[in-house]
């Protein structure tokens, strides 16, 4: 009888430890709630002028990490251009951070008639994205931030147009 009790107790404690560890892991895996690391960034645009992301605080901000050598990145960008045109007046702001060379970014931005800032992040920008949930350090990686500066969504890989619209519609 005693040994049954002891076994039950041990199992109970083990279950509690497993639960606590699981909860800890879940918290660990969750992206940070605030986007302060992004707002602290100041990066050159294609013309070489430094732009602080802080200037867009208060808007619904879509920060897209991309590169010209990333075909899936280029494929989703026309939709970003459309969304910027349509939803910009309601407070939506796209910002692209290119892990790339300024001349290539400038040429592509021109070809696409990019209507939002294209900043040059280099590989240090990838480190920031990794800190915000880009565990594979891959592109495209998109972070959607609400008007209070909280991270509402992070997404690795191309965003489907309806997926993007439904997320930002809730925040605008």
């Amino acid at each position: 009888m005693k040994s049954h009790l002891r076994r039950g107790l041990i199992l109970g404690v083990a279950a509690l430890i497993a639960l606590a560890a699981g909860a800890g892991l879940a918290l660990w895996d969750r992206p940070p709630k605030r986007a302060d690391a992004l707002f602290a960034l100041s990066l050159p645009d294609t013309g070489g002028t430094r732009q602080s992301l802080e200037q867009w605080r208060g808007k619904v901000l879509v920060v897209n990490f991309w590169a010209t050598w990333c075909e899936p990145c280029r494929e989703e960008m026309p939709e970003f251009v459309r969304a910027q045109t349509e939803l910009g007046p309601r407070g939506l702001q796209f910002v692209g951070i290119a892990v790339d060379q300024a001349d290539k970014v400038g040429r592509f931005a021109q070809e696409l008639h990019l209507n939002y800032p294209a900043l040059i992040g280099g590989y240090d920008a990838m480190e920031v994205s990794q800190g915000l949930g880009n565990h594979l350090a891959a592109l495209p990686f998109t972070i959607i931030i609400d008007r209070q500066g909280r991270i509402a969504e992070t997404h690795l890989g191309p965003l489907k147009p309806n997926q993007l619209r439904s997320i930002v519609d809730n925040l605008l």
Partner: protein, 133 residues
């Protein structure tokens, strides 16, 4: 999967001066031919890289004609100035993407190789000599 698993690099010595470099590319992933580069450390060891095998041609809207590798790619590299017993590092840079719509920035993978000791190298030519006699 992380890029060093998607594009797994390995290298082995075929003889005292020849390195077989290999990328094993996971299913659903591809490497860009013009983004594959090799280097040796220390640089004084010198490395001759032959033209890389032809890849599958793809028309890219922005970059034009690009070539990609799937499955794998093997290249024979030649070390120019190495001493028996010396240790060299083969650094392989690569950049590629996954069909699911992800691309990885260029990454460098390194393999350390120890060249055979003098006695081994001296034996090797004597083994091969009969072919040339």
């Amino acid at each position: 999967m992380p890029p060093d698993k998607a594009f797994r690099f390995s290298a082995r010595l075929l003889d005292g001066q020849t390195v077989e470099a290999r990328f094993a590319i996971a299913d659903g992933y591809y490497l860009y031919r013009d983004k594959v580069h090799f280097a040796v450390e220390p640089a004084s060891a010198g490395l001759t890289v032959p033209p890389l095998p032809e890849g599958k041609v793809k028309e890219d809207q922005f970059f034009g004609r690009v070539e990609t590798y799937r499955g794998g790619v093997v290249v024979k590299l030649a070390l120019k100035d190495v001493k028996p017993g010396q240790q060299v590092v083969i650094a392989a840079e690569s950049q590629g993407c996954a069909d699911i719509g992800l691309c990885y920035p260029p990454t460098v993978q390194r393999v350390t190789l120890a060249l055979p000791e003098a006695s081994v190298i001296q034996n090797t030519p004597s083994d091969k000599k009969p072919w040339f006699n």
